[in-house]
């Protein structure tokens, strides 16, 4: 086989592998992703679907409950009705009232039940002095 042809074949093979891989990547990313929703949207969400809830913890609402905690969250801009949340598992250090959190979980009977190990609390930085007070 002449080298010109060989190189062309190699290029075609490499390109098709790359295309296949990126199709897989794109497909799985759309199927494996979880939708992000704010508490006010979740109040009406169907049970049995996993969501990433992003919201703000209502200050003073955190209570120990059995092995975990229960608290209320509101939309990030502080509007809308608050959503009750239960979570068991490790709580990150920065977690407290007024903090923005991201939590993966499902709705069960009007309560958002978080999966263990998925609670992310935004890092408290001195940038946020305005909202931190």
């Amino acid at each position: 086989m002449d080298p010109q042809r060989k190189r062309k074949i190699r290029l075609v093979v490499a390109l098709s592998v790359a295309v296949l891989l990126s199709v897989a990547l794109i497909y799985t990313s759309f199927t494996a992703s979880t939708q992000a929703k704010e508490p006010s949207e979740l109040l009406a969400a169907a049970p049995g679907t996993s969501y990433d809830m992003t919201g703000k913890v209502v200050p003073g609402s955190i209570q120990h409950q059995g092995h975990g905690i229960a608290f209320m969250v509101k939309d990030r801009d502080g509007s809308g009705r608050s959503l009750p949340v239960t979570y068991s598992g490790a709580v990150p250090d920065p977690f407290r009232g007024g903090r923005e959190i991201v939590l993966t979980g499902e709705m069960e009977g009007g309560t958002f039940v978080g999966e263990p190990e998925t609670l992310v609390t935004k890092c408290p930085s001195k940038f946020t002095t305005k909202s931190d007070g």
Binding site: I26, T34, H67, V91, D93, C123, P124
Partner: protein
């Protein structure tokens, strides 16, 4: 002081702009303009140094008239953290960026002061353009001037967030920033090379060391961040695929690809387009990292709220990408190399594969990181990808990468015959096979095929590098005698770049073994225990011995003492959670302890075989209830209702007096604080006898220590590779480009000789290669002679 700082900052901006302008004016290679612009760059660095010193002095002296000091420090902030507090702020980190860039640019221009006459002016212009951008941001963008002042100056500051008060804070951000900044230098020289069409390997040679320094900084910064997360944040992990972590990992990966592929350009003159693309990619990703930390675009634990500079950085990224792409496209003809890769079993072919894997890895991480935006674009819904998705793609890519990391060093440049390939691969393959079989039989590694594959490939890579060292040292000894150890040291110190690189490979392989073992074979449990209760975790008996509690002026600490029986040995571990009183408040209620920040003290028993890690979540419901009751009692007490005890009346009277007479204020505050502290101590004492159950997170993490050890090995390797070689250190005479070219060719001839002596190249291959290299060397010598004549004539 603030006005001195402001003046220096403004002058620095002017210096950056004029250095760029002067450099462009002297773009035809006129000596005096280039020299002048270089000196202005030195001046720029000096001015920014003054700015940094002014800020640091303000922090050290508690000068709260500086907005930045008031916001990020307080009288109580420990001195050590006062120095680090600068970069916990947005304006401070911009200043750090600009300052590190000014030092890096000065160093790069000093190193190339007698070389690259065409490229340097353009590189200066690019570096100073970026520098002017960051200095200009501080001057003109809202809310980011580090010299903003407050009048009148407050008596105390808000203080540095206790979570940031960790030794890593001192070095983790500057390391990452230095890494980001160092990518600017190769980028600037690449742009210079593109503009002037001087696209041989000379710009690569001049900036390779800076690329390596940036890579090492970035890698070390990542390692420190992982360590910080593991030992400080109470979740027990070291990597979470958080957008900001990814943002630092991506330029590191592309930088790794760049460091490898430039070798192909240096040795073979190939992959020029690829290299300029990688250098542009690395720089853009570094800017993107800076941007992501400072923007709220993606949900991240690092996304630092209010963002005022994000859009500007985004605009800079757009300019960089569009400008570079246009430049590369217009220079495609000059970038094309007539040479082709001779054989698929050659080092350059493996480098190419490794490059593709690294870039593929980066593409996966990029897609996953920005998926929330992509998803919103296509479906209108923000959706995100979690760690399992990242793991699914990164695991196989990382494993393949280890395999090729093992293969690459074994092959010689250009071509290897089957016969010599067989000879070289035999021992490492045998060792890897034995290791795999042993692991599969003795441990439970066989249940985790990915981990087993990684262990097998890592064993292959380590054995291969071991063989390289062994054969190289043996060959060296045959050539010059001496002991084996002496030969080994001579081998490494004479070929720092090659063997330093191998040591980096060892470090990365060891590190990946640690990562694979700790992520695949970790035991991670949440248990709730009452004092005195025990449970068994991974064959270890864990007993909650007793609760602990402590109060001081900063924090209320509630914790636990655990006893762990590991068969033959047993040890005690303490873990607790500190609840900090809110900062910036003169006096609050006792319950205010629980409104402030909290942080976990991890109990960690680290070992070479495994770590035992634990963090407690104390149940403080009772403590909080009592604190609220105490606060209420105190209120009732000082309000002086009927039936209040006499001490209460005294305090109440004092508070009223203080309200009327500010002079008494501090005495009253001190009284109240001490009273509160005593009460808090009593409450803490009740916690010691409370039978409330506490929740513990317990992790048994096998081999995780090797991750840190591997990281440090890699860092040592990088330092060896960066260290200037002996001749250069002594301050060799002026090097012209042709001299550098000649030196590089000689090194290549020496490398081939070593490869032949170490049995990597067969006699026949060596004969061909040596003849080719010598022919190329003669061509260069002719060219050098020609240039000399030209110089002498003129």
């Amino acid at each position: 002081m603030a006005s001195l700082g402001s003046a220096c900052l403004a002058l620095a901006f002017l210096a950056a702009v004029s250095a760029a302008a002067i450099a462009l004016y002297g773009r035809n290679g006129e000596r005096r303009w280039i020299d002048l612009s270089r000196r202005v760059v030195y001046g720029f660095a000096a001015l920014l140094t003054v700015c940094v010193v002014v800020i640091e002095i303000a922090f050290a002296n508690n000068d709260f008239s500086f907005n930045i000091v008031q916001q990020h420090s307080s009288l109580e902030t420990p001195a050590f953290y006062k120095l680090a507090a600068m970069w916990s702020s947005q304006e401070g980190s911009l200043l750090l960026w600009a300052w590190v860039l000014s030092l890096g640019s000065s160093l790069a221009l000093y190193a190339t002061r007698r070389r690259l006459r065409e490229i340097v002016p353009w590189a200066t212009a690019v570096m100073m353009g970026v520098a002017a951008f960051f200095t200009g941001l501080m001057l003109f963008a809202p809310d980011v001037n580090p010299f903003a002042t407050l009048s009148p100056a407050p008596a105390d500051g808000i203080g540095l967030n206790p979570l940031l008060q960790h030794p890593s804070m001192m070095i983790h951000p500057p390391m990452l920033y230095s890494g980001y900044v160092a990518t600017t230098i190769p980028f600037a020289f690449a742009i210079g090379a593109l503009v002037t069409r001087r696209l041989d390997a000379e710009w690569v040679r001049a900036t390779r060391r800076f690329a390596l320094v940036g890579w090492a900084f970035l890698g070390f910064g990542l390692l420190l961040g992982a360590r910080w997360s593991y030992t400080e944040l109470g979740w027990g992990g070291y990597w979470a695929w958080d957008p900001v972590e990814n943002a630092a990992l991506m330029p590191w990966l592309v930088g790794t690809a760049f460091l490898h592929s430039i070798m192909v350009q240096e040795k073979r003159g190939m992959l020029k387009v690829w290299n300029v693309c990688l250098v542009v990619g690395t720089f853009s990703l570094a800017l993107l990292g800076t941007f992501l930390v400072r923007s709220g675009v993606l949900q991240s634990i690092h996304a630092f709220g209010d963002n005022t500079v994000g859009p500007y950085i985004l605009a800079l990224i757009a300019v960089v990408l569009i400008g570079s792409t246009a430049l590369i496209v217009s220079r495609l003809d000059d970038l094309r190399s007539p040479k082709r890769i001779d054989s698929l079993i050659s080092r350059e072919a493996v480098f190419l594969v490794n490059n593709l894997l690294l870039v593929g890895l980066t593409a996966v991480i990029f897609w996953g990181t920005f998926f929330p935006l992509i998803s919103e674009l296509f479906t209108g819904q923000k959706a995100s990808l979690a760690a399992p998705w990242f793991d699914r793609y990164t695991t196989p890519l990382a494993i393949l990468l280890v395999l090729f990391t093992g293969i690459g060093p074994l092959l010689a440049w250009r071509r290897v015959t089957w016969a010599s390939a067989k000879r070289i691969f035999l021992a490492p393959l045998a060792i890897a096979a034995v290791a795999t079989v042993l692991l599969a039989l003795v441990t439970d590694a066989a249940h985790k095929p990915w981990a087993l594959a990684l262990f097998a490939f890592a064993a292959f890579a380590l054995a291969g590098i071991g063989q390289e060292f062994w054969k190289g040292a043996a060959a060296r000894r045959r050539l010059s005698g001496g002991s084996m150890a002496g030969a080994l040291i001579a081998l490494v110190s004479r070929n720092r770049r090659r063997y330093g690189g191998y040591i980096v490979h060892v470090g990365i392989a060891v590190m990946l073994i640690g990562i694979a073992a700790s992520s695949s074979f970790q035991t991670n449990r949440d248990v709730t225990l009452r004092p005195g209760q025990s449970t068994v975790i991974d064959g270890r008996k864990v007993t909650y011995v007793r609760p602990t509690a402590k109060v001081d002026s900063l924090a209320f600490t509630a914790g636990a003492l655990l006893r762990v029986d590991e068969g033959s040995k047993s040890f005690d571990l303490e873990t607790d959670r500190r609840f900090y009183r809110p900062t910036g408040v003169e006096t609050g209620t006792i319950s205010s302890f629980f409104d402030g920040e909290a942080d976990t003290d991890v109990g960690l028993q680290a070992g070479l075989s495994h770590d035992f890690w634990t963090a407690v979540q104390p149940n403080i419901t009772g403590v909080q209830r009592r604190a609220r009751a105490a606060d209420k009692g105190f209120q009732a007490c000082v309000s002086g209702g009927p039936g209040t005890p006499p001490q209460c009346k005294a305090v109440g009277a004092m508070m009223r007096a203080a309200a009327a007479n500010p002079a008494l204020r501090s005495t009253a505050l001190a009284q109240i604080s001490s009273l509160q502290e005593a009460t808090a101590k009593r409450i803490a004492a009740t916690y010691l006898h409370e039978p409330a159950p506490a929740t513990f997170k317990v992790i048994v993490n096998p081999l995780v220590t090797w991750m840190w050890i591997g990281g440090l090995i890699a860092l040592c390797g990088a330092i060896i590779a960066i260290w200037p070689s002996r001749g250069r250190r002594r301050g060799s005479p002026v090097r012209t480009e042709a001299d550098a070219l000649k030196e590089a060719k000689y090194r290549e001839i020496r490398d081939a000789e070593l490869d032949h002596a170490a049995g990597k190249l067969s006699d026949e291959d060596y004969a061909i290669l040596d003849a080719e290299l010598r022919k190329e060397a003669v061509q260069i010598l002719d060219q050098v002679g020609g240039e000399r004549e030209k110089v002498e004539q003129s």
